[in-house]
């Protein structure tokens, strides 16, 4: 004799236990997928960033205003850094959001912590994006001959 027992959330028990059709469920699914896709991209972007900035040439000691100006004279590095900024900030924000959801138990605490997180994320993404696109190698204070 065999009794068939439906798997949980297979909609054969009671549709109200199915999580897949709610918008919340689909948001978490997209967030889960985003962590994996952005994660792969970030491995390439950040390893490339660390290699060119710290491993070749003079390493950390060679990083100054001129070094940044040299990199951002090339649109490839501008978009490299832009992609890194957006993906890393969104990946990190979603990670910290998960941690807040796990450990902050009071609803008010969760709202506050996530509010602070989202404000910080928006400010940093907008600031970083503006810096990349409005960068001026001949900003006041730069005394190199090319800026005379």
């Amino acid at each position: 004799m065999s009794a068939e027992i439906a798997a949980p959330r297979s909609q054969r028990i009671d549709p109200k236990y199915n999580r897949a059709n709610t918008s919340r469920g689909s948001f978490e699914m997209v967030a889960w997928l985003f962590m994996r896709l952005s994660g792969v991209a970030l491995v390439v972007l950040i390893f490339g960033h660390l290699f060119t900035n710290l491993m070749v040439g003079g390493g950390v000691k060679a990083i100054d205003f001129g070094f940044v100006a040299g990199k951002w004279a090339d649109p490839v590095w501008m978009f490299w850094d832009l992609a890194m900024l957006w993906l890393a900030m969104l990946h990190g924000t979603n990670g910290v959001r998960t941690i807040i959801n796990d450990y902050a138990e009071k609803p008010a605490t969760r709202v506050w912590l996530k509010g602070i997180l989202y404000v910080a994320t928006i400010v940093i993404i907008i600031l970083g994006t503006l810096v990349i696109f409005t960068f001026d190698p001949c900003i006041a204070g730069n005394t190199i001959p090319a800026c005379k």
């Binding site: 950040i46 950390v60 990083i63 100054d64 990670g95 970083g128 810096v131 960068f135 204070g141």
Partner: protein, 126 residues
């Protein structure tokens, strides 16, 4: 405990510690990222302001901090790729422990190479 669930034991074992490590390194990297965007933003203030802040990254103590940060990044990166394999590869859950040892082996090799190069550049006389 039934036979079928013993194969998925994660709690208290290597798998759980890799999860703890992934969370801690993730938070550390995120906090540095916030600071790093702010320090890089000084290129929009003046070359002098940016160079002054970058100078603080060039002292020997900070070189050790940078090595620790890169250690966190490299672990998070390799363990993240392991998590993707656990989720998407059919044999992923079966080999999650072996993959963790692979992550740690690659982490040691990468960090040896990075540390030698970075610390010799940072502690070098010129």
């Amino acid at each position: 405990m039934s036979k079928t669930s013993s194969g998925t034991l994660y709690r208290g074992r290597e798998g759980m510690w890799s999860w703890v490590g992934h969370r801690i390194t993730g938070v550390v990297i995120f906090l540095f990222l916030l600071v790093h965007v702010l320090d890089t933003s000084l290129v929009r203030v003046s070359p002098g302001a940016y160079d002054a802040v970058m100078a603080t990254y060039k002292n020997p103590l900070m070189a050790l901090g940078e090595t620790a940060l890169v250690a966190a990044i490299v672990f998070h990166a390799f363990n993240g790729l392991r998590l993707i394999l656990v989720d998407f590869w059919k044999q992923g859950t079966k080999y999650q422990r072996q993959m963790l040892w692979g992550v740690l082996a690659l982490w040691v090799i990468t960090m040896l190479a990075f540390s030698i190069r970075h610390l010799s550049l940072a502690f070098g006389g010129h």
